[in-house]
Each structure stands twice: as C-alpha cells, then as structure tokens.
Symmetry: C3
Subunit: 308 residues, 3 copies
C-alpha cells in the first residue's frame, strides 16, 4: 500500500523539482564543468596543518631519519591537490563570467601550476610566523601550561594557521579556495577571519568563538583579541543602480601592541586604533583611539530587587 | 598484574553503573522501543542540501540528461528515511506520555507516511525561498564575489536552508526531528534558529556565530542581521506549581527591511521593531522601535592611560 | 612538462621545510616518544557520553537483559584508552620538562592505572550530577518539550557532561587530557568551559554559543547562564622577568540561584555575584553584586532617521 502510494506521489514531484532547477539557475550547478571540491579543500587544510606541526598533527613517531620521507610524501600530495582545485577555480571563474568554458585549458593549467608553486615556496616563511603566534598564545594566557597544549587545544592556533595560508592564496588572486579554507576554520573554531585581512606578527585570539575580522582589516604586531570581538564594516555605499560597491577599504586599522577585550565591536575604516591602546569589553566604536589610550563602557545601573 | 587489578575493580563498577541507570530514569533510554536516530537526521539534512543545491552539494557533473535520475534516486531515499524517523518520533511521544508503546502501530505508520509526503511536496516552494536568501547574501555583503561563493562558503546559507525545512516539519507537528535538525545546523554554523520561528523572504545573516532566534520570533521580509544577535525571551512566567508555562508568544517581532547589527540583544514579545528600523551594534532592547528609527548605544568613555 | 618542473621545484623545498623544523623546535614533535592522541581522546568523550546516556547515545535497543553486557564491554574499553593516554601525558610532561624520557616507565604506568581507576570509580556520582543538569535544562527553557529533547538536542548537555568528566581528571592532576576534552566540547558546541572551573549542581546554559568560563571560576547551585556570557580574567600580573604569573585565582565567583543573561561579561576575582542576583544582557562587570540585586545596562539612545 505504502509502496503504491509512493509510486504515485514521487515521480510528479521529481519532475517539479527538476523543472524548478531550470527555472532559477542561481542555486544549481548543472551542465557546467568546473567547481572546486569542498572536501579536497578540507584535505588541503589538513595537509597544511600536518606540514606545519609535524608530529603534533597527523602521523606520530617522526624521527630525524624518517622526516624527509614524510615531508617528501606530503608535499607533492598537497601540491597536486592545490593545482587541481586551482584549475577548477580558474575555469569556474571563466565559465561564470563568460558563460562558457575557457578556450585555452592548457594556459589555465600552467597558471594554476605556477600559482601552486609560488604558494608552496612560501610555506617555510609562513611557518615562522605561525611559530611566533604559538609563542604569543603561550605568553598571553596564564591558563596555558606549554606550547604543546596551545598546538593541541587552542582553536586560535588552528584558525590563525589556516588564515595565514589562505591569505597567501588570496594575495596570489586564487579565486574561491581562500574563502572556503577560511569558512572551514570558522566552522571548526567559531573564528571568522577573512583571508583578505592583513595581520602582523605574534597574533593571539583567546577562546575565539564569535570573532569576526573583515576583508580589509589591517592589524599590527603583538595584538591580542578576545572572544566575540568584531572588526567589521560600518555601512555599505551603493552605486547609481543600487548595487553594493565592492573592493574598497571598509574595515578598521589596529596598531601594534593593542589589546581588544571580549565582545568589543569596532566598525569602519575611520576607526584607527593607535599603538598600545586598550579597548574594553563590550565597547562599541566607530572612531579612532589615540595611541596608549584606553576606552571602556559606562558602568551598569544597579537596581535593588525587592525580596519575593 | 594490571589485568588482575582490573578484573577486581571493574565488575563491581559495572554493577553500580547499571544500578544507577534504574535508580534515575531521566538519563537513560532502556527497555523502550522508539527513538529517532541523530545520525539519520543528519543524513536527511545532507539529502535536503543536495536536492536544494544540485551540483554544488554532493554529486558533481550533473547534466540535463542525468539530473532526473539523480533526483529520482535521492528523493525516495529522503522520503524513506524521513518516514522511518517520523514513525520513531510519533511512537516515542506515545511511549513517553502513556508509558507504553502505541496500540495501533499501523495508524502511526500511515500518519508518518502522510506527513512525509506533505513535507516533500513542499520542497520546490521552499527552494524558491532559499534562492531569494542566496540572492540576499550576495546583495548584502560587499565581500561576496558570486552567488556560488555564498552557496559554497556562507554559514548563513546552510543554517537558513536547514531552518526553512525544519520549519515545515515544525508546522506539520512532527516531534523532535525539527529541533535535532536545527541543532545540527547550530553545531555546524554557530547559528541557532528555533524551527518554530517565522521568517519572511530574502533573509540574510552575516558571519552568524552566536546568533539566537527564539521559538516565537516573527521576522518580516528583507531583514539582515549580524553575528551575535539575540532575538530572545525576557523572562518566563510560571504556573501555580512553579513550573514554566510553555507555548505562548515570548519573543520579538521584527518588521520588513530591518537591519540589526552585531551583538544586539532584543528580548520579549513587547519588542516590536518597526519596518525599516536599524538597531545598532551591542544595543540591548526590551521595548519597541518605531518604523524608520535608529537606536544605538552611548559612546564609550575615554580614559587616558599614563605611560608605563 | 609539469612533472619535470615539479621534480625540480619540490626536493629543495622539502629540504628547506625539514631544515626549518630543526631551526625552531616549538612547532614540531620530532624525535620525542610521548604525546596524547586527540583522536583517542575524542573516542574517550564518546564512550563517556554513551555510558552516561545509555540508549540515547550510541547503541539503541538496550534492555534490562543486555545492559550489563553493554556496559561490561564499554567500561574496559574506556579504562584501557584512558590508561594509555594518561601514560602518554605523564611521560610527555617528563620529556618536556627533563628533555628526556622518564627513567621508570613502569612507575608511570602504575600511576596512570591508579588515576584511571580513580576516575572510573567516580562515574556514577558524576552521572547523578548530570541528571540534575538535564532536569535544569528542561525546567529552565519553555521551548523544551521533554528531557529526551534536552539530551538529544541541547548543546549545553553535551558541553556540561564533558566538562564534569574533564573536571574530575583535572582534579586528579592528569595533564593535557582535560583541556583536549574541553576543546573538543568547545568545537562541537561553541561553549568553552575550562576543566579547572568549579560548578555546582543543576547548572544550565541556554543556546550556549560564545560562553567562556575561565579556569578559576567558582559557580554555585542552580545557576543559569545564556549565550555569549564570559566569566573571565581582568588582567594578568607578570613576574620580574615579564612573564605571566600562572595558577592564582583570577576569575569571578558566582553564588547560588544566579541568572546571567546573554553577552554579559564578568571579569576578575574581585567580582563576587551574590546569591539570587540577576545580571542583565550585555552588562560589563568587574565588581561585586550584593545578593538579590539586579544590574542592567543603560537604555540605548533613540535617533530619528530622516526618510530617504
């Protein structure tokens, strides 16, 4: 009985659904050839973590004898996957803009190869920066017992590591992959750093859930921020046809040695936080703070509640 | 030695644990037949995402030729899983309230079948709404480069998509499944939308982490909210026996074309946010805002920090 | 061609990467023997959830007949994994502090065995506390329809359950494992409870995303907190060499029957929140609140926006 009812009900619905796919093309990717794979980009993130923190992430029991073989196995795998996904993304842009596949696929492949090579060449320098971030986590949190604990259990280390690599791909103008990497880190940590943001050395985010750092944010060295902090945009100008204007500076600038406490919100490109400034918890700011100044919110109102 | 010590220590502990299960039945589900499976409900969410964004989520390489076969394979699978879990949930309610399994299991099965059919019939309309949400994400964020990027990398699209389907099941009075779906989306995105909330067309949540939208919230069309926003309840009246009263309107109403910035908190059913209003970052509100008005918090106090 | 280019480019990069591992040892774990496995600690969390909520988590269809076999299978597995990881952590501490492996490995193993036994002995009492937490979730949220829904769909139950077990290991001075467990719960729920915090009976966190509870926080019985609440440290004194001082009381104390609404921030050990106090949404506090008092923030400023 059920089966019979089902046989009647489902085929017309399949037809309606398929028809709806062709009525509105914004939410489907049918009859197009190129798209990056989210799963492969997650693999790329995992490989980068494994290459960055050998022995801590992924394979254990590494020795001075086997480490070269280990890296010699991981690095070509990373390269190959990054190359393939970059081809997909470059061709996807072609297809999306020109409404057809790219004419010269081999040029696309060569470009992806060059981009992936430029990227992997930068890994050692990026790792140096990440080591300074790990030290900043240990130095900045009295609850930390070792740098090992920071690497194994601090969401900020995961989020900042993936950000630093995604930022390199963003600077190389690789489409889509940096944002998918950033969103993967966001999902795992609650920390949302746009790969376009520029962040100096020894950066630390404590706890991290709810942190948002926008695309055109600039952050100096030795900056520490806490959970729930937003470095965001104030409002969005539109063009004469009512569409958002994209690509201009719209997020704050944060100097060196700045601390921003939990849930503070700093919005707009006019907000320049001077070197050594301290922004208190829950502060809402759209203006600049001079170097060395502190800002804080007004104390809460006390009410006496009558006993029940 | 270790093994001997273990043989002595564990059996009495097993007995103590098992005894504790029967001493307090609130935290066990033993000797009862019906319970929904969280894992299957996650599968249902994945199938809905795949049917909603064909080619973007799940199988790639879809063409006008294979798309009907693809949908014709996914849809019966979704139907079957939803049917089975709905039977579990309906019977679970029986068992929980009557302290025994339902007498007429076949009636339960027929009801689940009808509910699942009503639900799948609604998928095309829900997809239309979701397409408008994708457009709202692109139109609302200057950092977005394409609707494809929104589908692949915006947590709001995942959270709102699952919310829209969970809301349909909530309206059909399917127990438990809508909340388990919502919590799955919450876990993946940090966005907590109760399936009971009513949300209009073209809804966008930017960044999203920490957003909470309560069960009896009403939201109009073209609303945009940011990370950390709460649309919550103010306080909970209790009955004469001191138990919470459940099921009445206790969350805010938000009009059309409203923007609510990061970390704003709006509480209680008395809070009605008029059409076109703007609620600033970190604002705490328990009262109404007239149409077209803006509210913002007081500027922070500046303190000059003496040099060290 | 590609392959040839790759053969030229990658080997020197492998060498550079490997050289970088030995230039800065903070971010590698090479040529050392002991490290806990994050994956096994996640398994330990899953086993604890399965033992705590039999029939709800993991295997279904449990009966009074098979429950002893089920527990008799899970408990030795938990014990064995916990033992093995505790050995790794104890030896890791040795290796980290003394720069060499522990001399007496069998003493290390015996110590781990004793710690794991002490821990599993405590499971029934911890379960009792968790049952009171489940009841507190149901009693505290008008949207909850049953304790079953709380167990299946409330992130707070997952986070508090893992916290309560991690806290026992923290009290037993097991290194690293408690923090890795806490971070696993943080990742799954957005709720960050340090295992060092002390939390009384019947604790509930609604929604939960963004909650931070620091290492030396004390919380009484029947406390309810909402999403985005921080119980954090105010500032960190440093020793004469400029290094953070670790291990002293630096977080708030919260009495019995206290409610703290969304996004409130309470910082420092001077902040003592008296019994029955209510802290409003978005309040920022560094001082004490007397018993029975309410605190709230100033109302937002209203601005009339001129029509466009």
């Amino acid at each position: 009985m059920d089966a019979k009812q089902l046989d009647d009900a489902l085929p017309p619905l399949v037809d309606r659904l398929v028809a709806s796919y062709f009525a509105d093309r914004r939410t489907q990717h049918i009859d197009k050839e190129y798209l990056p794979s989210q799963a492969t980009i997650v693999d790329i993130c995992d490989l980068l973590l494994e290459l960055t923190f050998p022995g801590y992430v992924g394979r254990m029991g590494l020795t001075p004898h086997n480490i070269s073989y280990h890296v010699g196995e991981l690095l070509p795998r990373l390269f190959e996957q990054l190359c393939r996904e970059t081809v997909q993304c470059l061709c996807h842009e072609h297809e999306r803009c020109d409404e057809r596949p790219p004419e010269d696929l081999s040029a696309c492949r060569q470009k992806a190869f060059d981009l992936a090579r430029d990227f992997v060449e930068r890994i050692p320098e990026v790792r140096e920066r990440i080591a300074a971030d790990v030290q900043a986590a240990y130095d900045g949190d009295p609850a930390a017992t070792s740098t090992a604990e920071c690497i194994l259990a601090y969401p900020a280390i995961l989020a900042i590591t993936i950000y630093r690599y995604a930022h390199e791909l963003y600077q190389l103008n690789v489409p889509l992959i940096p944002r998918i990497m950033a969103e993967h880190a966001h999902r795992r940590t609650g920390i949302d750093i746009h790969p376009g943001a520029r962040i100096g050395r020894s950066f630390f985010i404590d706890h991290g859930t709810g942190v948002v750092i926008g695309e055109t944010t600039d952050i100096g060295d030795n900056v520490k921020i806490y959970q729930g902090v937003t470095l965001g945009a104030l409002s969005f100008p539109k063009d004469e046809r009512g569409r958002l204007i994209r690509g201009y500076k719209r997020h704050p600038t944060v100097g060196n040695n700045v601390t921003i406490y939990a849930n503070a919100i700093i919005l707009g490109s006019d907000a320049v936080i001077g070197d050594g400034a301290v922004v208190g918890g829950s502060v809402f700011l759209t203006e600049s703070i001079a170097p060395g100044h502190q800002v804080s919110i007004t104390p809460p109102i006390l009410k006496v509640r009558p006993p029940k």
